[in-house]
């Protein structure tokens, strides 16, 4: 067989990059949902909701993503077997789930912090106008808090993109996995890793550009950016 050039690597790496993009997009989306649920849950009046949110946040911040991933992929099916339910997850599902749960736990702290940073005066004005607590949260506090969440959310999304490389360990053919396969086959480490580096960097740039756009959209009302 002929010597492969970097042009021949691209289709293979491209396939892997597409898997990485999908993992990143889905887990960031689900992660954001979890972040709002747990972040607001931690501020809830109901003690059970609060306790559940705190437990989730602490467990997933306090253990490594790798362990969470292995637990969901390898341990959960055994637990399922023991209680007679099929809990065997396809690698993609396990990967997205682990990434979402992990990023959601960090995001929850961002959500909680931003909501608590809304000034007491704003809550008092809302109360004086007789808004209910729910209206105050959704109409007064969150619209002011969400723009504040955007820079840390951008960081988390980038972090998440990089973390997707871990899912190759449960045999998902993402960019990192494809790179490893090519390297085993061609031994051309320098070219392959340079391409992979550029591809991750390109994806990070697109992600940040998207987050910037989202940020200026949710913060339209704000005075010219500092």
């Amino acid at each position: 067989m002929d010597e492969m050039t970097w042009l021949d690597y691209l289709p293979v790496l491209g396939q892997g990059a597409w898997v990485t993009v999908q993992l990143t997009v889905w887990s960031t989306l689900f992660g954001a949902l979890l972040a709002f649920a747990a972040g607001l849950g931690k501020l809830a009046r109901n003690a059970a909701v609060r306790g559940l949110s705190v437990a989730y946040i602490e467990i997933f911040r306090g253990t490594s993503l790798l362990v969470q991933l292995f637990w969901l992929y390898f341990a959960l099916p055994l637990v399922g077997q023991a209680i007679g339910i099929n809990l065997r997850l396809p690698p993609v599902t396990a990967g997205i789930l682990a990434l979402s749960l992990n990023i959601g736990a960090y995001g929850a702290e961002v959500v909680r912090g931003a909501v608590q940073a809304v000034t007491r005066q704003q809550y008092e004005a809302a109360r004086a106008l007789n808004f209910t607590p729910r209206q105050t949260l959704f109409r007064i506090a969150l619209p002011q808090a969400i723009p504040e969440m955007m820079p840390p959310f951008d960081n988390l999304a980038i972090q998440n993109l990089k973390d997707t490389a871990l899912v190759s360990l449960i045999s998902l053919a993402d960019l990192a996995m494809r790179a490893e396969q090519l390297r085993n086959y061609t031994q051309d480490s320098t070219t392959i890793y340079t391409l992979v580096l550029l591809m991750y960097f390109g994806m990070a740039l697109v992600l940040t550009a998207f987050m910037r756009g989202l940020s200026s959209m949710v913060g339209r009302w704000r005075p010219a950016q500092r």
């Binding site: 004005a125 106008l129 009302w221």
Partner: protein
């Protein structure tokens, strides 16, 4: 002085070990314009904040429009602590204008004024907008409806805040040092709006201020509060010209010379 719309009956308020109000008795008649004056830390804001349900009470009873504010009547006629539903109902009778305006920064001026009438009172959007535009006209800001608060001066923001409170059609309007955060050249335009309200409306007004000249101009009665109780009160022409109590004399001498 019949038909009190506000009555504090032996009200105490403590923050931890600090006693701010101690057996306060205080009444305001319907439609009356009352100014509260007194040294810093004497409990003036606390009185307004208790009425706006931003601060609860430690003891005693507050009556608003014939009903207990922080209590409700139980089946056997005794008073029990108010439920959120009761507070919600009572809050509808009151409005408040804050020292720091507290407009919602993410809403336009118009939205600031229409949001609560639509969401809380259930007005339709066109109804709320009509009401808001009328009020903006009254405070002289009809041309600013689509601006955001940060695009306006402090004086303009405070006039919007007054319109926002009035849009809920309260029976009682509370003002906590409404001009204290303003640059001196902007104080006049806000006082002008409050003066207009005082002269033209049957609204009950309770105002905390350090502007003695303004207090004298607009109030039916002035209360000097010291250490959490009414030390002396009376018509402005009496209290300002011939205060009876040494502490009142001392306070007035200090602020009028200052």
């Amino acid at each position: 002085m019949t038909d009190p719309i506000i009555r504090f009956d032996k009200v105490a308020k403590r923050f931890g070990d600090i006693s701010v109000l101690d057996g306060l008795d205080f009444t305001v008649s319907r439609g009356e314009k009352v100014t509260i004056i007194g040294p810093s830390g004497s409990g003036k804001s606390t009185i307004l904040r208790i009425l706006m349900t931003l601060e609860d009470i430690s003891d005693g009873t507050v009556w608003v429009d014939g009903e207990p504010l922080w209590h409700e009547k139980a089946g056997d006629g005794t008073l029990k602590p108010a439920s959120e539903a009761h507070l919600h109902k009572m809050r509808g009778k009151l409005g408040m204008v804050f020292q720091s305006f507290n407009l919602f920064p993410h809403m336009t001026v118009l939205r600031n004024i229409t949001e609560a009438p639509v969401q809380v009172l259930g007005l339709s959007k066109p109804e709320a907008k009509d009401r808001a535009m009328g009020l903006l006209d009254m405070v002289g800001l009809s041309d600013h409806a689509e601006k955001y608060p940060h695009q306006m001066s402090g004086g303009q923001q405070q006039r919007v805040a007054i319109a926002r409170a009035l849009a809920m059609r309260p029976d009682i309007l509370l003002f906590d040092e409404p001009t204290s955060a303003l640059d001196p050249e902007l104080v006049g335009e806000v006082q002008e709006v409050i003066r207009k309200l005082a002269y033209e409306h049957d609204l009950t007004m309770l105002l905390v201020t350090h502007e003695m000249r303004f207090a004298r101009e607009i109030s039916d009665r002035v209360c000097f509060i010291d250490k959490g109780s009414v030390h002396e009160e009376g018509a402005p022409e009496d209290l300002f010209t011939a205060p009876q109590q040494p502490r009142t004399q001392e306070f007035l001498r200090a602020v009028l010379d200052g």
